[in-house]
Amino acid sequence: MDAIIIETIIKAIIVLSVIAALAGFGTFIERKVLAFMQRRLGPMHVGPFGLLQLAADGIKLFTKEDIIPQHANRLIFMIAPIITAATAFIALAAVPLLPEFTLFGYTVHPIVADLNVGILFILGAMASGLYGPLLAGMAQANKWGIIGSARTAILFMSYEVVTGLSLLAPIMLVGSLSLIDFNNAQSGGIGEWMVWQQPLAFILFLIAGFAETNRTPFDLLEHEAEVVSGYATEYSGMRWGMFFIGEYANMITIGFMASLIFFGGFNDLGFIPGFLAIILKVSFFFFLMLWVRASWPHVRPDQLMWLCWKVLMPIALLNVLITGLVMMV
């Protein structure tokens, strides 16, 4: 029993530090990729290829003054970013990050907690992460913040439905909520990937995932051109940085979920070993999010609700219905 507790704590610390570092690195990659797609160079001067820009930004964020506005609700204002960052990492607890491997004769399962309701847990944790922007916007006594939190509420009401319904069809096919079962169900190579059976569910999940992580077609929460910075208007320093880290950790989680549920997870892919395969898949989904940000304009809040309730939700329901009929026949 003690061994399990110690092992879990060690795994949690490793996941936290590695994913937090990767989230920081993600900001660098985002700036670079966006720059290249706009024929710019991006960060260049701090370190080789601007790699140490990360460290410079981190030092800046840590040493900036932590300002709390005069009429803000202090407690909620201080807690809100912690909710976003914490839930992003809590969601990662049920994600199997790599295949099993043996270290010094000890078999390591690179998942913090193999829950039998893994997907439900991840969706729930990520959904409660939206409380961060919601409370932050309302606590800061700023009109842009209020608009930002109103938009968060829109997002909250719309996209959780699509995320859940789109994943329902694959869950019916596999018959389990554990991501490891999903991975094992697709162990037969590219032909058994879930995306061939459920292409519609994959597209719906991807759209909902973009909305869930506030990425560009749906980045209404803090769209600078409209609402200054939305829910993050009054934040500075490390509290703002926690929102940022939470967002990037969520992007990584969505990348892992898409790879595990629809793209064969960490099974060996031809000559590519499993751990490399999943890293490549997640990297591709991360790149896709940046790519889309460089390419597409974003939608208005009314278009978002229109898209969700009038297009995506009926399609998701139809998908579930058709999947059920096919399974019965």
Partner: protein, 207 residues
């Protein structure tokens, strides 16, 4: 951007394309048809392809548009009017200025100060020549009026200064004697036009 493109100010001959707008849908059936057409057309993927192609061109085909400014500079027009230069005669190396004082006279912001004296050969010698760049508006009249093409505008445009008024003296603006072979004529105001020889006509003496 090449210099030729930069100098081409004839906007009238550029190839403009008129963007075609389709008619706005009136009935619900037309609206539905437009939605379906746009859905199947895959224009979003065209957008993705464009950015990916741009990234490929920027990274691998040397199409990066960033100019690392202090290390790289864009070419400026040869007629650009920046900090003045004083030119020398190519044969003797003596400065071209004859001390006539026309530039001082014409300067509308009153920033040129010239003082002369006769040297031992009874030639005008410039004893003092300063331009107050805090006042100069770089209008180019001095270069235009100069009968000897002695004062011209150069290409040095980085002129930020810690002082409000910063003067430049004759020796600073004069072409260094060892750089005489690389001295360039100024093609801007007051310079001889490239086809000057063609425009020469015989003086009508036979009335």
């Amino acid at each position: 951007m090449g210099l030729e493109k930069f100098k081409d100010r004839n906007v009238g001959i550029q190839q403009y394309k008129v963007v075609e707008h389709e008619a706005f849908p009136k009935s619900n059936a037309q609206k539905f048809a437009r939605v379906m057409k746009r859905m199947v057309k895959g224009e979003l993927f065209v957008g993705l392809w464009v950015t990916l192609r741009t990234m490929y061109q920027a990274l691998f085909q040397d199409d990066m548009h960033t100019v690392k400014y202090p290390f790289e500079k864009l070419p400026i027009s040869p007629r650009y009017r920046a900090i003045h230069e004083m030119l020398r005669l190519l044969e003797s190396g003596h400065y071209r200025c004859i001390g006539c004082g026309l530039c001082e006279k014409i300067c509308i912001s009153d920033c040129i100060k010239i003082d002369t004296k006769y040297d031992e050969n009874q030639r005008k010698e410039v004893t003092e020549y300063t331009i107050n760049f805090g006042r100069c508006i770089f209008c180019g009249y001095c270069a235009e009026v100069c009968p000897e093409l002695a004062i011209v505008h150069g290409g040095r445009y980085e002129t930020s200064s810690q002082q409000r008024a910063s003067f430049s003296i004759f020796e600073d603006m004069l072409t260094p004697i060892d750089a005489l072979s690389s001295q360039k004529e100024y093609p801007g105001f007051g310079a001889v036009s490239p086809n000057a020889d063609d425009n020469i006509k015989k003086t009508p003496l036979a009335y």
